[in-house]
Symmetry: C2
Subunit: 117 residues, 2 copies
DNA sequence: CCGGATCCAGTACGATACTG
DNA sequence: CAGTATCGTACTGGATCCGG
């Protein structure tokens, strides 16, 4: 018997990914075009953004809409499922922001004790 | 100007990791020894569990306590910081559980449309 | 402007074997 | 029991070039 099925871990891996979190978090601000999204999600690379958006689209969290213009424009937005995930993602992002200093301090303490060997 | 500092992304990477989430989530049940933790966190490998616990300990989320027995026992538990993170992690875990089916369905739909090319 | 394709260094991860 | 060490494979993620 497997405590956590493969599928669960797989989806966790999708959802518990820093770029996914960041992307969804920023898309929470509204519908954005690729280049604008990239600018706001610095320092994500273009490749990772493309890749992350594909994965999120594939799993139904993000809607990709190509506008029939020249040059073509592509808009990204959250699906209803994506918005429901946003509320969870926000909690993680907020925690990170609020506890950044403490986590960093703990790490420095840990590393210092180590180097004292 | 960098929208998200390197440190923030680094901590996000720590915190937005499937094994970290899972480990903290399970440690939420209480203090556990290594082997018991491993059993409950299936299908995590022993190596990944060790590694994840080190990282979590280093960043102040987990407390490692070696008992002076023979054979040695090691207990892991959440620090106060870890418990504060648990509430955020739980939200992600709960979302995953509740939306597993829908995400999986979206993926199958997406893949089917793709293969119809 | 919005990406895809390719190359490559580095890392994740599992399997296995060994230690105090 | 609770790890550490090593190996091999697969994937990550940046850099760069290319194309509609």
């Amino acid at each position: 018997m497997e405590a956590y099925p493969k599928l669960t871990i797989e989806i966790m891996g999708l959802v518990a990914d820093k770029w996914s979190l960041l992307t969804v978090y920023i898309l929470g601000e509204g519908t954005l075009r690729f280049s604008e999204l990239r600018r706001r999600a610095v320092p994500i690379s273009q490749k990772m953004l493309t890749q992350t958006l594909r994965v999120l689209e594939r799993h139904g969290l993000v809607v990709r809409r190509v506008l029939p213009t020249a040059p073509p424009q592509v808009e990204y937005s959250l699906s209803p499922l994506g918005r429901s995930f946003l509320s969870a993602a926000s909690v993680i992002c907020a925690w990170t922001r609020d506890n950044l200093a403490e986590v960093d301090a703990a790490r420095q303490r840990f590393d210092q004790e180590r180097s004292a060997a």
